[in-house]
Assembly symmetry: D2
Homo-oligomer: 365 residues x 4
């Protein structure tokens, strides 16, 4: 697998498997002088951490991050030096015996078969490199990316789960992080609905997909480029790189295919303060690949995990037909924990473009 790196000036390389001793990332190109606390990184990892409710995998991982390079201590803060920031998270609760019986079987919907064709060798324990544990490294990198762009706030929410959706009229960002909210939903009324629905899915040993929305505020106008380094392109690429994501869209997204030019284009006026004001945000904050200063809005679809209790037809490595039933410990809705991951990936894309824009044009400090 070539190229486990993304970003150009804010570059993230991740490494590690589900059942190895550790996983981590190297963030190269972080500007010098960025101040943060170790707790800022840990807090993001805690949001993604498994085992926090009955709706996510029961694997118990403390996901404690260690920073091995690239920072100096200054009181209770850390300051980046401009050199590579290496972050490591040890795997604690591997329990690889869970996976023993399916070592030679290809689980339908998983990467097992494709992996074997590609590499001829496969770490069958927990999906190896395809495991969602890899995303912890992204969240750590994203926590640092958030500090790079002054004023940037990146938040995400689960807006759909299987056949159920939120009511957007109830959107409350504060509720997303509420301790009583195991779903990252912004709609308090949806909790009961999602709870009942997902309990049913979980008890059936089934799984279900989800729809996530990420909103980035404080993105300066001017990030991106007209064609191959479009800000929306790099955001979508980053989101598509998350396990189980099957679709991404910006602003009104797929809905724009059904719209007219009159309905779609956001009109502008000069505001009272003399600055441009957009009268709507169908574009999701990006026009022609370049940020406009409006909130950047992206959505992505997470498929249901293919690890389910219902036996499914498949084959094994030796060419036999088999029935596969995936026991182990799995998320009935992996999309829930995709919320902080999606935020991290969007933050990384924006931080990278912020540095690139500064590099090429010198038009922002």
């Amino acid at each position: 697998m070539s190229h486990n790196t993304f970003g150009h000036l804010f570059r993230v390389t991740t490494w590690g498997e589900s059942h190895g001793p550790a996983l981590g990332c190297v963030v190269d190109g972080c500007p010098p002088g960025v101040r943060f606390k170790l707790g800022d990184i840990q807090a993001e990892l805690d949001r993604r951490r498994p085992g926090q409710s009955r709706f996510v995998t029961q694997r118990r991982e403390p996901d404690q991050v260690r920073i091995l390079s690239g920072v100096l201590e200054d009181g209770d803060e850390l300051v980046t030096t401009g050199t590579p920031v290496s972050m490591m998270i040890e795997n604690v609760d591997q329990r690889s015996k869970d996976y023993g019986e399916i070592a030679r079987q290809y689980r339908p919907g998983h990467a097992d078969y494709a992996y074997d064709v590609k590499y001829g060798i496969r770490d069958y324990r927990g999906g190896g490199r395809s495991s969602a544990r890899e995303t912890a490294a992204r969240v750590a990198a994203g926590a640092l990316a958030r500090k790079v762009v002054p004023g940037l706030v990146v938040r995400g929410a689960l807006v759909g789960m299987g056949t159920k959706s939120i009511n957007r009229a109830n959107w409350n960002w504060n509720f997303v992080e509420d301790a009583e909210n195991p779903f990252f939903t912004p709609d308090p009324e949806s909790v009961a609905t999602f709870t009942e629905y997902l309990d049913g899915i979980r008890k059936d040993g089934s799984s279900v997909g989800a729809l996530i929305e990420i909103v980035a505020e404080g993105v300066p106008a001017g990030l991106g480029a007209p064609v191959y380094a479009k800000l929306d392109q790099d955001i979508c690429s980053n989101l598509m790189s998350i396990n189980a994501v099957k679709g991404v869209e910006i602003g009104d997204g797929f809905e724009t295919a059904r719209m007219t030019g009159e309905e779609n284009a956001d009109e502008m006026r000069i505001g009272n303060d003399g600055n441009p004001v957009f009268l709507s945000n169908h574009a999701g904050g990006i026009l022609g690949g370049i940020s406009t200063g409006q909130p950047v809005i992206a959505r992505f679809a997470v498929k249901p995990t293919s690890s389910i209790l219902t036996p499914r037809q498949s084959i094994d490595k030796d060419g036999n037909n088999v029935d596969v039933r995936t026991k182990g410990r799995h998320d009935p809705c992996v999309g829930i924990r995709a919320v902080p991951i999606g935020e991290a990936m969007v933050a990384c894309a924006i931080a990278d473009h912020y540095l690139r824009h500064r590099g090429q044009t010198g038009r922002i400090a």
Copy 2:
């Protein structure tokens, strides 16, 4: 604008504006010994060419491609030498006076405002680098990419236009290229519907979005990687880099957010010939970022062009409120000509991953 290059081993760099003397691309890393005819490239360009029906822009461009490097002649064929293939297309029908009156205005929905914030300087003639003319260079590169992977067939079709959709039961690939079909629709019955609908849009000076589907057959299993060089990620990134695209999806895409694990995962059996057979293709030919040997299926949404006759509220460069009405020559549905462009971008992604897979693993010739 940094980085007008995409791909790693099959690398494409494009250049050129709508109203400059020419545009083109450099394809670097094309394997030596690839045989093709100049007509193969031209044929793809002709599919994308403007002025071929009343449903696309009336700009008259012959879009004749010249190959300036990287090939040797062998009879009526060209053979690549392994060095950069430079292709150039001259702009003939610029007619830049059309754009004179909006040189200082920001057209709503266009990149004008974002562009000025980013660069502080802007080629207002026809959108400059943001013009859809840039995509001719992609189509030329894609025509070469198609020759790199033995057996690869990449086809596309328009499956939705505004509020109208095709009937998938009527899908006929041959009809897509039919001379009587100005829409790249695979459904013969849809032609009348689309014609009437788009004539209405056109006469109103309006525009409408579209939904495009690309299907790649003959993709060897094993292309891609588990995380950051996922084949689906790079396909989506390539498609998102096309002007006016606001969303992309693979296989069942956004629909998977509403599905259960039982509905989504494609089951497998050993076929009569001893090879694996998938019983469905919800995954769109890619599992865990790696191709499975099934057809690769992607869809993307193209927003309506923002160039419409209805006056729209906007501002100008000097901070005045203005009403903008875009006359010029424009496509009422830019999504139609996006079909060959989408094919080209998918072909480039696959060719690149084919070479990368061969490089890392040596598992294909």
Copy 3:
């Protein structure tokens, strides 16, 4: 041949063969608002141009550059827009019959044999992609790079030719560009020596190597990085990419292997103006990979061209022993014309690092 691109933010891609219709480059990432005249680019090309004295190849090429994209006209100036700048130079005097007789022979010292092993196909006319004509594209790109860094002056000189060397005590930059100086030597007294020496070489149908020195003044302190993006590393990489270059060094270079720490390290004092002053420049303006503000000094060795009249033992494509005698039109000392090429490659490296430094640190405007 993969990757005909160099640079990260100021990225140059070149294309074209000696005997194709044209060659050129695409400069991607050039900042917007850079002002220059077409004549600035042409002037650099004219310095590299063949046919200007009896000491360089008699091939007659006007090397007129056309700029096809990425600029707007403003009076008699051109202004970059931030989009890719495509530059093209047509080949006029190909005379490919010269090469006919050695189409199947491997010329000793040339890339012919290695090329055939690599690609299995080869443009034998004038070396194809290996031709020194490719360097015209670099000189064009370098002419633009010079404009990117305010105050940057990059100059080069030939300091050695075969067994003859200049006397550094006579160094005169103005003389390098003197019309009476066909060698880019900075030492007026060396002209007679070099003339007599090279006339002898030329009449014998032989060739000779050369040593070139490049000095870049006005390089801001802080460009580069401690390890893998060292400014000296990227300068050396750029110089090594020039045809026939076999060695590169920075500052005292190879001589430092023979020095002690006391002799090598440049001492510092606070100058009268309160700024740091270096008391010597053994380091060549770069410490730990980062520019210090002193002049950056690099030297490179150009081997003698292998195209000589003396018959040499070799083999042909069919496995026969043959004697090869290269007639054609060649430079008796290719190192002479390497002076402007070396300047261009150093300018490109500095421009790229200037943008990268601005991107990562924001510490220069």
Copy 4:
């Protein structure tokens, strides 16, 4: 510091400072199925390890490598899976108090001043990222690179130290690794000379430069490219990225500047086995940027470390003139330990080009 990564398909990212908790590397793109023992990696690290004779720094570091990802165990062997190989080495003997007194001083010849200008913040303990400890990570990566290319053997030797040189007539590769040889010299007779010379340097608190030669045998013909991905260019770039290297050359290198075409070009004949034979190797195994199948030969110059006991004039961060005397524990000749580092960097370049050649051309398995 952006871009602590080198290589395209065999990509190495390193991280870590001299006085942080650890350092390491991530090797991305290593082919699957590469077999090795942990001891193979450790053996290379042991060759570079400090504290092994009085001629190198007395810092005591076990330099034990841990592999954290990308491999499966198979008996006493490890097998790569094709996913990123993360390797970590803990720092044990930091003793940062040694550096306390020069925290605000700029040591002449070191990166201190340039670093502060660039980043505005600096880890003064042991040079931070500029420390030669960083090279342990390269050696680990290089040990893996050696396994990627079948039949590849990369060896290095110290051929000059200060004013002393070896006698090439005595060259003995076996002696290089002899336990009685603290210098990696290939000339047994040179040991006495170097010992006496370096003892003198060491007792004076001085330091001295060195000249290193690397020879790679078993490099298949066809690796590299005619211009910007020249094998010699990438080898030189890799070598220049090593701390304190000031010059690099290939084959006859700088000597070619003084040669004629007749002296320089290597003649060829058909050998008894029908294969091409070169009659000399002035080219150092590379013609036109592409390997010929002959041994690849590179040399590089390492400057004397600037850490010496003699007081030197300098300035401090606050703008004062100071005299700097560097105590600490340092190598009197850092060039000695550069031998395994140089080998590692050459091995990485060759492994990368091997995969790139296979990717583009498919002409090697």
